[in-house]
């Protein structure tokens, strides 16, 4: 039996599980049903949200917070940060504006986190 901490919500359930070929056979400790798909995704390809900042030409701020629209493959985080480090945005930007988009195992979309004038 192995244990994983579920990161889906702030409860952080410690889930004890057994698996075969990436499918969870038994699980205990998960307070909701979202725990099982989380573990199966972890076994297949861990996915994470990423937040960072991108340089921006603006009179009010030096950098603009950005975030992935949906979780991305964990192994892609460093690569994505490097790509974003090279970028410069121009103000004004609005929350939800797409900063970067590409495909690597899953669709990776980075958006602006808040309005900057």
């Amino acid at each position: 039996m192995k244990t994983k901490i579920c990161i889906v919500c702030p409860q952080g359930c410690h889930i004890n599980y057994t698996q075969k070929d990436g499918k969870v056979i038994t699980a205990e400790g998960n307070n909701c049903k979202r725990g099982i798909p989380y573990i199966e995704q972890e076994l297949l390809m861990p996915m994470r949200n990423l937040s960072t900042v991108v340089k921006i030409k603006s009179t009010s701020r030096a950098v603009c917070p950005v975030n992935t629209k949906a979780p991305i493959p964990k192994d892609e985080m460093n690569n994505l940060i490097k790509k974003l480090d090279e970028m410069v945005l121009n103000a004004p930007v609005k929350q939800g504006d797409i900063v970067l988009e590409y495909f690597k195992d899953a669709k990776i979309e980075v958006i602006v986190s808040c309005d900057i004038d």
């Binding site: 952080g12 410690h14 994470r48 960072t52 900042v53 009010s60 917070p65 975030n67 929350q95």
Partner: protein, 415 residues
């Protein structure tokens, strides 16, 4: 002197949500914020995990702040940014200044939503020299996330609360090496999921029951020494470990800002290091309300925002002269396993629909029972697999159930 229905001091999550609630009730409201933008600490908390309770959506800190600020801008509320409050007196007169001058205004009611401050090296009597490279985690977070500057390349972190864990991941992703995180307690003070996704994901070691025993260097920090401690918090000789670093981040807790409370002689709770409020979020002075981190430090911003709504709802009643003031407040009694509760008092008469009591336990309890007694008779019991000091518990009491002269909350370990 310009007079408002309410003045809200502090434009973070709690203050914005309180202002929005009152403005939507057609009250004239002034919100005073010291920074140039609304949002408070949310602006530098660029990670996600905010909003699940308040917006039923998982948002980043800046997105949460942005949404609430935009909602606020659609109301009639007056917002003063870059404005510093100098004083508040018992007549509900507020003096503040900003770039354009000095102002004195007054209101029927005041809501404090001042937020909290980080404990500093001095506050925890950090051993060793005061060197360049020792920062609070929150200031390092502000440098990187607001200004784009990384404070160091080789970093050690003291304190495993959420800010410490999140900064470990953030600095790691920006290319710094995190040599470890030390925690004085035998358990982490952060959410379990942050241990998983901030430390375990990047193989960052966590040293439990460890303190920083020395900070070395000339002008700049060059080495941090940590040491294991026993159950009485005494250093265990021979367990010292040295780390060559250029930066030490202190993530050793937040304390409610209390400067304005001191001007008013409000009743203080030594446990929260802040003021006492009743279930209307009213302080010991009628017409003065409080909410958010200046009342007690929350783990999740959503609860601070929800508290702002509750405080504003009762503040609205007060403005309308519908909040009866000469009522007997019932003090919530706690057993020795609970460190504090907010509110501290219950006002049975003015409660609208329900009262939510927030509390924290003193240490980890595995298999525990939360029991609520009304007049020494058990009203409800809740079985818990685990109770952590890092996680705020809440109990909701519907108004229809609340008939008592005495209320006590107990946490008991089940053996």
């Amino acid at each position: 002197m310009k007079k408002y229905d309410a003045i809200i001091i502090g434009g973070g999550a709690a203050g914005m949500s309180a202002t929005k609630t009152l403005a939507n009730q057609n009250k004239s409201v002034l919100l005073i914020e010291t920074e140039a933008v609304l949002g408070g600490v949310l602006n530098q908390c660029i990670h996600s995990g905010f909003g699940v309770e308040y917006y039923q959506e998982d948002l980043t800190g800046p997105t949460f702040a942005n949404r609430l600020a935009n909602e606020l801008k659609e109301t009639s509320a007056t917002i003063e940014l870059g404005s510093h409050v100098l004083s508040v007196n018992e007549d509900k007169e507020v003096e503040y200044t900003n770039e354009t001058g000095y102002y004195k205004v007054c209101a029927k009611a005041i809501i404090f939503a001042l937020g909290s401050l980080e404990r500093s090296a001095g506050a925890i009597a950090l051993p060793g020299k005061r060197l360049n490279g020792i920062h609070t985690a929150g200031s390092a977070q502000q440098y990187i996330n607001m200004e784009g500057n990384l404070v160091g390349k080789k970093i050690f972190i003291l304190g495993s609360g959420d800010i410490g864990l999140i900064m470990a991941r953030r600095m790691h992703l920006e290319g710094a090496k995190i040599l470890g995180v030390a925690e004085m307690m035998p358990y982490s003070n952060g959410l379990a999921r942050n241990i998983a996704q901030c430390l375990n994901d990047f193989d960052i070691p966590l040293y439990l029951s460890h303190v920083v025993s020395d900070c070395r260097g000339d002008d700049n920090l060059s080495q941090v020494e940590i040491c294991e401690i026993d159950e009485q918090f005494n250093l265990i000789k021979g367990t010292e470990k040295q780390f060559d670093v250029d930066t030490l981040l202190l993530a050793v807790g937040l304390i409610p800002i209390n400067t304005l409370y001191k001007m008013l002689n409000l009743e203080i709770d030594n446990k929260t290091k802040s003021i006492k409020v009743d279930s209307n979020y009213q302080t010991s002075l009628p017409g003065f309300f409080s909410c958010g981190n200046c009342l007690h430090v929350h783990d999740i911003v959503d609860f601070a925002a929800i508290e702002g709504e509750i405080a504003a709802t009762y503040c609205n009643k007060y403005i309308l002269d519908q909040l009866e003031n000469n009522v007997d407040l019932i003090e919530i009694e706690l057993n020795e396993n609970i460190s504090y509760s907010v509110p501290q008092y219950i006002d049975l008469k003015n409660t609208l629909e329900e009262v939510t009591i927030f509390f924290r336990v003193k240490r980890i309890y595995k298999k525990a029972m939360i029991r609520i007694l009304f007049d020494d008779v058990e009203y409800r019991k809740i079985r818990k697999k685990i109770l952590l000091p890092a996680e705020m518990e809440q109990i909701k009491l519907p108004k229809s159930d609340m008939e008592f002269r005495k209320i006590k909350i107990l946490v008991e370990e089940i053996t």
